[in-house]
């Protein structure tokens, strides 16, 4: 197991039940603690309560777009690492991530290896910037 995955608590925000469950399994089998939310509304309060280290945020989600919800998380006393999580084109995601303060993007996939490789790549950037953790 990568050192990047040890004892990390991850919140997954996505309105698709299948995506939530598949992602929960990807993460739990890799040793993460996982909490899930089916709505972006109220994520700030949930983050304050659950204190995740990392938030995987869907982008096209009803109520409050994922990038807008991500911006709100930056105001937290202890802001989590935010990663956009979507099946939208990567160019669009990278631009959105830059604007909303997310550290990276993960494209949805059924492959656990591909999912974890993307997550590791995102988390590796925070290792280089200790202040972001």
């Amino acid at each position: 197991m990568s050192i990047l995955r040890k004892k990390r608590r991850v919140m997954v925000v996505d309105d698709d039940e299948i995506v939530l469950e598949v992602t929960r399994e990807h993460l739990q089998l890799a040793g993460f603690e996982v909490v899930t939310r089916a709505s972006s509304l109220g994520t700030s309060a949930a983050v304050a309560r659950e204190k995740p280290d990392v938030v995987l945020m869907d982008v096209d989600i009803p109520g409050l777009a994922g990038d807008a919800a991500a911006k709100l998380l930056a105001d937290q006393a202890r802001p989590p690492i935010v990663i956009l999580y979507s099946s939208a084109p990567k160019e669009k995601l990278v631009e959105l991530a830059r604007r909303c303060g997310a550290i990276g993007v993960i494209e949805k996939t059924a492959s656990r290896e591909l999912f974890l490789a993307q997550l590791d790549a995102c988390l590796a950037t925070t290792v280089r910037r200790p202040s972001a953790i």
Partner: protein, 233 residues
């Protein structure tokens, strides 16, 4: 090497250096077109999805400049192990492709083949497989299968309703959501239909989408029964 992701840049650069190659790095397709005009490279490793100019457009530009002259091998780096990506890469002028995450063995193989012409390359793994109804290489839990079998008819009904009403905005939204479910399930064929419909909602063949959804349902039911039989043994 043309790659925007700093982690991938570092990983692949280290691999190439270890294989004994000199590496010049640029971070988008536009810079790659400029760099390849000013120097001869034995090989270009080109990420497909990048900001400013993506790898497909950069490859087209490089091929257009080369005309009928010497041709630099261009290897696409794709994030998706789906036939559509591979076909797209080779159809626009790339010579070969690697699916991320890239392994040392595959990189060595491809680079040796295109630089030395000596590689006895193994065929690419899942990247050359067609977009399957339900990817057999992916492990789905019984819980995920049950959820998906319950949710698919509802998603399909929302897509069908949006298509019949002629509301293209709603249709694009619904197929985007269904595509996300399909990608998480490894349902490549239906995901590909949804992706195309999201780009061009007016061109959606609802019969084709419904047929793919039926095939997916049958495949998931089969997998679900097999899983139940396994756990009963």
């Amino acid at each position: 090497m043309v790659e925007d992701n700093p982690v991938n840049q570092e990983v692949v650069r280290e691999m190439l250096t270890e294989l004994g190659h000199e590496v010049e790095l640029v971070e988008n397709g536009k810079l790659a077109v400029e760099a390849s005009a000013n120097a001869d490279f034995a090989l270009v490793l080109m990420d497909c999805q990048m900001p400013v100019m993506n790898g497909y457009d950069a490859t087209r530009a490089i091929r257009a400049r080369e005309g009928g002259g010497p041709r630099t091998p261009i290897i696409g780096l794709t994030a998706h192990a789906m036939r559509g990506d591979a076909e797209r890469a080779t159809s626009i002028g790339m010579d070969d492709y690697l699916t991320k995450p890239i392994t040392m063995a595959r990189l060595r193989d491809v680079v040796a083949h295109w630089i030395d012409g000596a590689g006895a390359r193994e065929p690419a793994p899942s990247a050359e497989a067609p977009a399957t109804v339900l990817d057999p290489a992916v492990q789905r839990s019984a819980r995920v299968l049950t959820l998906a079998l319950a949710q698919l008819p509802k998603s399909l009904s929302r897509v069908t309703e949006a298509a019949r009403s002629g509301d293209h905005e709603a249709l694009a939204r619904e197929v985007h959501k269904l595509k996300g479910s399909c990608l998480a399930l490894g349902a490549g064929r239906l995901a590909a239909i949804c992706a195309a419909a999201q780009e061009r909602p007016a061109d959606l063949d609802i019969g084709e989408l419904e047929a793919a959804a039926r095939e997916l349902t049958v495949a998931m039911e089969g997998e679900s029964k097999a899983r139940a039989a396994e756990s009963a043994r």
